[in-house]
């Protein structure tokens, strides 16, 4: 039976939305392939997660809480590997997040199984899983087939839609996560949050990015204001990160974050190939640039040829009016 397990990522009890996106997609696949969807929660509140897990399509919620409240690569790796050995899922989906990128290879190495990073599509055909992932930051795609079961697959946030299917709360099943044998060495001491209310680039529905066209670090506020009006994350081109105008954590591109939001607004970004690679899977792309020949217009759905110092503040104002 091609059963699919989905790792539910929680930090301080808050669950990442990529978990619901993965469960919804897993349910679509499992229904077609004749299997079940098993949510796997380590730490956090199983009672609170059971409702949304079931509503998005999970048949069961497997839970282990002992010593697993906070993420630790060793403890979580042992727990996920123990779950896989006991339940034998075909696929294990984990979000391609800071936690999932750390946990996936760790658990896979413990199991000696295949690990596939950052997938955007899955299909079950002729008894095998075929998994699509972008490589070269999205300059091309590769389709791969895992040769082991389970295979652990990282799923890019926003690759799938978190549609509810109206299922009842998933029954919670406790499992032995074998923490007695865990001896973690690398231990998280504390988590320091960046500016309050900041929307994370890789998870955002909308991203507004600035490039050299903003002319100096003092004007990045224009980008942040438009982002704030849209509830969006603020991004940046490599040029302005390398110039020291904004922190690296904002960089979009082949040597920064790869993003695929519903809407990407590029302001004063010419569109170097390595930037386009990191954002061209966005569903709708808007370019604001004074140079009509800028390569960014080649990937954009909508464009405004104009001075961003005039267009961006006016757009911020118009967005505020629309969104109230």
């Amino acid at each position: 039976m091609p059963n699919i397990a989905v790792f539910i990522e929680q930090r301080d009890g808050a669950i990442k939305k990529v978990a619901w996106q993965m469960i919804a997609q897993a349910r679509r696949l499992a229904d077609a392939a004749g299997g079940e969807v098993w949510a796997v929660l380590l730490g956090g509140d199983a009672g609170a997660a059971a409702g949304p897990a079931g509503a998005h399509g999970a048949h069961k919620l497997f839970f282990a809480g002992d010593q697993l409240a906070a993420y630790d690569s060793e403890r979580y790796g042992i727990a996920l590997a123990a779950f896989c050995r006991a339940q034998k899922p075909d696929l294990v989906l984990v979000g391609a997040t800071a936690m999932g990128r750390d946990l996936g290879p760790k658990a896979a190495a413990k199991l000696g199984c295949a690990c596939i990073s950052d997938a955007i599509a899955l299909k079950f055909e002729g008894g095998a899983w075929e998994i699509r992932r972008p490589v070269y930051a999205g300059k091309c795609f590769v389709d791969v087939v895992p040769k082991t079961a389970p295979a652990i697959v990282g799923i890019r946030p926003n690759a799938f839609v978190a549609q509810e299917c109206g299922g009842a709360a998933a029954p919670v099943i406790a499992f032995d996560a074998q923490q007695a044998q865990a001896a973690p060495k690398a231990v998280g001491r504390e988590v320091v949050a960046a500016a309050a209310g900041r929307v994370e680039l890789t998870e955002a529905d909308i991203v507004v990015s600035g490039g050299r066209g903003i002319k100096g670090p003092e004007h990045y506020g224009l980008i942040e204001e438009l982002a704030a009006a849209l509830g969006a994350a603020a991004g940046a081109s490599r040029a302005i990160v390398d110039a020291g105008w904004v922190d690296y954590s904002h960089q979009v591109g082949q040597t920064g974050k790869t993003v695929g939001p519903n809407l990407y607004i590029a302001c004063g970004i010419s569109g170097a190939i390595q930037h386009l690679a990191g954002m061209s899977s966005s569903k709708c792309i808007v370019a604001i640039n004074k140079d009509p020949a800028a390569p960014i217009f080649k990937v954009a759905d909508f464009g405004v040829v104009g001075d961003l110092f005039e267009v961006v503040p006016a757009l911020t104002k118009a967005v505020r009016e629309i969104r109230g």
Partner: protein, 258 residues
């Protein structure tokens, strides 16, 4: 302090991939090959540690001998002491688990205090090898490191997470994967590139390392171009403000994106 830095040569970020239709392999002829940009942060961090505390740095790579120039210029000429190239035809197309297995065989030949990687290579974008190596060697790891403080037999690292950072304490020996922001890699000087030619560069096979070429756990079916995007619709108006209002209207009413 003995440090190993595991590096990879990749097509540079300006590379265009022209793929008209799905293909079993990517034609890589004409690609300019460079040190993976994330590996440069690992190399630089190793060199800074050596400068502060003394020690020896070994750069290790899996790949064909064409990697020589990159190792010489971007590793040996900036401060690494020696390089090992694991070159074996049996490793062509090896996946992350197989590469990790072979690197482990090389790493087990010495006792390293620190093994450094870049967070990922910008070609395969997978970011797995460092973490798999740590697990196979039984070492702790910290991934996506943006700041590192070394103590006596231990380290404190900042790792990037969504919306902030996590501060992690970890004993040595350990494996780290290095993220941009950790440091500013130096450029090699011409005299140092000349001198780097004198540093030892060893080429070994799987047999030399006493390891059977590991089977890949993932099979590549095909590469395909990303879906083509439609034409750009230019939105205008009498002035910038009018264009902006029209853009907002289009995004709201037609694209339903805001």
């Amino acid at each position: 302090m003995k440090i190993a830095v595991c590096v990879k040569q990749v097509p540079d970020s300006e590379t265009r991939i022209s793929l008209a239709a799905p293909a079993a392999k990517l034609d890589q002829t004409g690609f300019t090959r460079v040190l993976n940009p994330y590996d440069a942060f690992a190399v630089e961090e190793a060199v800074r540690i050596k400068e502060a505390r003394g020690g020896e740095i070994t750069a290790i790579t899996v790949g064909p001998e064409t990697v020589r120039e990159t190792l010489k210029k971007d590793c040996l000429a900036v401060g690494c002491d020696k390089a090992i190239i694991i070159n074996d035809p049996a490793l062509a197309g090896a996946d992350e688990a197989a590469v990790a297995e072979v690197l482990c065989a090389a790493l087990r030949k010495e006792t390293y205090d620190l093994v450094l990687f870049g967070i990922k290579a910008i070609d395969d974008d997978s970011g797995q090898v460092g973490i798999i190596v740590a697990e196979k060697l039984g070492l702790p790891h910290v991934s996506t490191v943006t700041k590192l403080e070394l103590g006596d037999g231990k380290l404190t690292a900042h790792r990037e997470i969504e919306g902030g950072k996590e501060i992690v304490d970890c004993p040595l020996p350990a494996v780290l994967t290095c993220q941009k922001g950790l440091n500013e890699p130096r450029l090699p000087s011409l005299p140092n590139i000349m001198k780097a030619g004198m540093k030892p560069m060893q080429v070994v096979t799987c047999a030399d390392l006493g390891v059977t070429p590991p089977a890949s756990l993932v099979e590549i079916r095909r590469y395909s171009p990303p879906p083509a995007r439609g034409a750009c619709r230019l939105v205008g108006g009498d002035d910038a403000a009018a264009a902006a209002r029209e853009l907002a209207r289009v995004l709201n009413e037609e694209a339903k994106a805001i």
